[in-house]
Amino acid sequence: MYYIEMHGHMVSRTTDDYREMAMAGCVAISEPAFWAGWDRQSADSFEDYFRQLTEFEPKRAAQFFIRHASWLCLNPKEGEDRRLTAQVLKRIPKFLDRPSVVGIGEIGMNRVTRNEVDTFTDHVRLALDYNQMMLIHTPHLEDKYKGTRVTIDNLLKFRNLEPRRVLIDHAEEHTIGMILEQGFYTGLTLYPNTKVSLARAVDMIEKYGPDRITISSACDWGPSVPTAVPQLMLEMRRRGHSEELIRKLVFENPLEFLMQSGKFELPRLGIPKALSHTAPGA
């Protein structure tokens, strides 16, 4: 079965990982800008990273017939630095017309500080000013509940924001309901220890239904599994769920979401770019 990896930090992965993912059915990867594991020192450093995301990774992915899409921002882990944020935000617009860029992300909060909220708000304004979609990170562990609440409260202050063009990621049992209730897309992240297990992800799908839910591995430089999404497919089959339901979650939902960018396409599968930012069948 074909699938779309909705959140993979491929700059941290090997070319062999791309091949393994392709062999498991991956036809596209959406890669949000991320923290390098240490704080970058200048806007120039970010600009190099944005070039890597928009020039080098699409080429690496294409070797395995995978469509690579990217999201640009200064990551929440670096959001406390307001001076650097201002400098990086000025650099982002010139990259937004690149063919693989589908929006602003992954923005959001880490420890839910005042500066992080200001940095998040600046990114939301940038996205709206340039008619960009958004992919939003929610904090980990004890900060997730508070961070998700603060994120949604801040988003709802923007009257011209379309919730279905925003994906609030890394949902768990105590946050998925509040995200879906407001009309946003969400993501379940199959990541060891700090996020969601295969069984818990399927539990949430059973409880909340499949609409506007996407699945990802969030594979990065930490212990993580690039082929976690196909593992979820197996878990769903183990539960007795239909192939139709599995396909909706791992392919159709992320496709519908990404096509709202007006840039995303899968020509090998006969799926052209959407003419407007409204998804087909939406």
Partner: protein, 103 residues
């Protein structure tokens, strides 16, 4: 919220399919608690805010109430909405520390 019928498997199928791996998880939990009692310094773990939340979670786990996971998630969560004045640390610790909020 009544969730009955949302999982396609019957009760006996769920037990058959998932019992062994969850038995293993219970044993891992027990071994973890025993390991704390064999610590090099012999300090009780009960004073640590993370282990206090852990104990609360275990109580919910052994109760008959529904939606255990939702409740346990909230036990570990920061329930406040006040923004931190500045970044304290890059990484979360796994449980909310009420004492830190008072400082």
């Amino acid at each position: 919220m009544n969730n009955q019928g949302l999982c396609p498997l019957t009760t006996s199928q769920i037990i058959d399919e998932y019992f062994i791996e969850n038995r293993t998880r219970i044993l891992d939990l027990a071994a973890y608690l025993d390991r704390l009692m064999r610590s090099a310094d012999g300090q009780p773990a009960s004073g640590d805010f993370r282990m206090q939340a852990f104990r609360q979670a275990l109580q919910i786990l052994s109760s008959d109430e529904p939606n255990k996971i939702d409740h346990i998630q909230l036990v570990f969560s920061d329930p406040t909405v006040e923004l931190k004045p500045q970044l304290d640390t890059k990484s979360a610790s796994g449980a909310w520390n009420p004492a830190q909020e008072v400082q």
